[in-house]
């Protein structure tokens, strides 16, 4: 039969989707907690420590608070778009996790389960497409709010994404020239066999990192939500869980971009100095997932560390950095990489 549907595969993928989405939600939840803790520790404070042991229930309390808040939709806003904004932001934030290889194969019930929802051969392009859609959530929400500050925040977000997406894409082209594949899974397999891509692409990684900060609207690029100039920026008019979705999508974006950076440049689920072939596949997979999560946590810490160190850019500085420094640098990197690839005939 040509059209036989493999129901087991569908169930397997559904379970994987549920696990991945809920895991990224929980991780994003605890990232908010970690953010407050890290901020406190870097500023010689204690941070939230009242809700539960060590304050571990704090994110639950925050979420409950957001749920119980009164939901206000401004009279002069366009209601459909107003609701669509945060929904889109959240949706695109979660969608990116589909192509990430979380680990190697797991053997369960006589089946080989790939710890990746979809191993599509244009994985990295998919990530790019979805991530750049994320800004529509911000733009639509800020436009629908019918508020000057929101609109300014949305405009800033849009122009910032455009400026940094370019440099990010060009730095990625250099990486793709080295790896020769767009599939994230294949990139990880290559890095497992050889060296991590950071060795071949240090400058590309730096550009990618800076652009990732800008894409996640994290300090020093958090101009779309600059509290002190735009009273909250694009989410000024939002309240209750819609505001929660916006804040939450920022943390999910941070998590996903950490995963992408770890996968692209730091070997994904590859544990350094350990040969995975020595273990049974299940244990190797667990080690892989743990290695990936460790890298992700380090990246998330880096995001927070930078946030609580560096003040925000001025807008013209932001544009100057994006257009006049990062893009030429990325082009230069691409040129050098191209020449090197040609010379070594890889």
């Amino acid at each position: 039969m040509l059209l036989a549907i493999d129901f087991a595969l569908i169930i397997e993928k559904l379970i994987l989707i549920v696990v991945v989405v809920s895991a990224s939600l929980v991780i994003a939840m605890y990232t908010t907690f970690a953010e407050r803790k890290v901020a406190a520790i870097l500023q010689d404070r204690r941070g939230p420590n009242r809700a539960g042991p060590f304050g571990l229930l704090q994110p639950l309390a925050d979420g409950l608070k957001l749920f119980f808040k009164e939901e206000i939709i401004p009279n002069f806003s366009s209601k459909f778009l107003f609701i669509l904004g945060p929904a889109l932001a959240m949706l695109t934030a979660v969608m990116t996790s589909a192509v990430v290889p979380w680990g190697d194969k797991v053997q369960l019930f006589d089946r080989e389960i790939n710890l990746q929802i979809a191993d599509i051969n244009i994985g990295i392009l998919y990530v790019f497409g979805v991530v750049s859609m994320g800004v529509y959530g911000i733009m639509i929400g800020s436009w629908a709010s019918n508020n000057k500050f929101s609109l300014l925040g949305g405009l800033r977000a849009a122009s910032q994404i455009i400026s940094y997406e370019l440099a990010m894409g060009i730095s990625l082209i250099a990486l793709l020239m080295v790896t020769g594949t767009l599939s994230l899974k294949e990139m990880v397999v290559q890095q497992q066999a050889g060296h991590w891509n950071i060795i071949y692409q240090p400058l590309g990684f730096l550009i990618f990192l800076i652009c990732a900060f800008a894409e996640c609207n994290r300090t020093p690029f958090d101009l779309p939500e600059a509290e002190n100039e735009l009273i909250g920026g694009y989410h000024t008019e939002y309240s209750s869980m819609k505001l929660g979705f916006y804040l939450f999508s920022e943390y999910i974006n941070m998590f996903i971009s950490s995963v992408i950076m770890a996968t692209l440049f730091f070997g994904g689920y590859d544990m350094p100095f350990v040969n995975e072939a020595n273990f049974t596949p299940n244990i190797a997979a667990i080690i892989g997932v743990a290695a990936l999560m460790t890298k992700v946590i380090l990246f998330i810490f880096l995001f927070m560390w930078v946030r609580w160190t560096i003040p925000r850019f001025r807008y013209d500085q932001l544009m100057h950095l994006g257009w006049r420094i990062l893009i030429p640098l990325a082009l230069f990197n691409m040129l050098v990489t191209g020449a090197a690839v040609l010379y070594f005939n890889r």
Binding site: I41, L42, D44, R46, W305, T309, I310
Partner: protein
């Protein structure tokens, strides 16, 4: 022009070097500074569990004292009210009746004794003025409240617990004062 002090510093107008223009070394330096703060001691005290000790000269909520047998020291002489710069103390005197010797130490006592805690400035002049060691300032705060009238403390709010009937509370209220005298 002659400078008034030698504090003025020449501002450097040199164009930035390449390393400075890169901006990344400066960021890294800043990040090292914040990182070093992870290991610093945190000055915060977990308040309800841990409390900062009061200084021995701390002046808090007033307490009306009793002697060892539980008789009130106050004779309603009014010196504290006169001494009070904020005019927070009001009192009414009464004469001790036969059979009340176990309640009041001397022939005259305060039938009504009120301190308005919103007026009180906790200067401690009442304590200094008192000839009978009847009022002193303890080491507690005035608790917050929602209504102004709750801040007018009457005698039963101010009196120290009875030393015989409730010796533990008495010792606690006495605090460091037991060693002070």
């Amino acid at each position: 022009m002659q400078p008034l002090t030698n504090k003025a510093k020449q501002v450097s107008r040199k164009p930035m070097t390449f390393a400075e223009r890169l901006y990344l070394p400066a960021i890294f330096k800043g990040m090292m500074i914040t990182f070093s703060h992870i290991f610093k001691k945190k000055p915060t005290i977990n308040y309800p569990e841990k409390q900062r000790p009061f200084s021995p000269v701390f002046r808090g909520l007033q307490i009306l004292n009793r002697d060892e047998e539980g008789r009130e020291n106050c004779t309603a002489c009014g010196l504290c009210a006169v001494a009070c710069p904020a005019e927070a103390i009001t009192m009414e005197a009464a004469e001790r009746q036969p059979g009340e010797e176990h309640l009041y130490k001397e022939e005259k006592y305060a039938a009504k004794y009120e301190i308005n805690m919103l007026r009180c400035i906790f200067c401690g002049l009442c304590e200094e003025a008192c000839p009978k060691d009847a009022i002193y300032l303890s080491e507690t705060f005035t608790p917050a409240d929602y209504q102004r009238k709750q801040f007018i403390y009457a005698k039963n709010d101010l009196l120290i617990p009875h030393p015989k009937e409730n010796p533990e509370a008495y010792q606690k209220a006495l605090g460091n004062r037991a060693t002070k005298n």
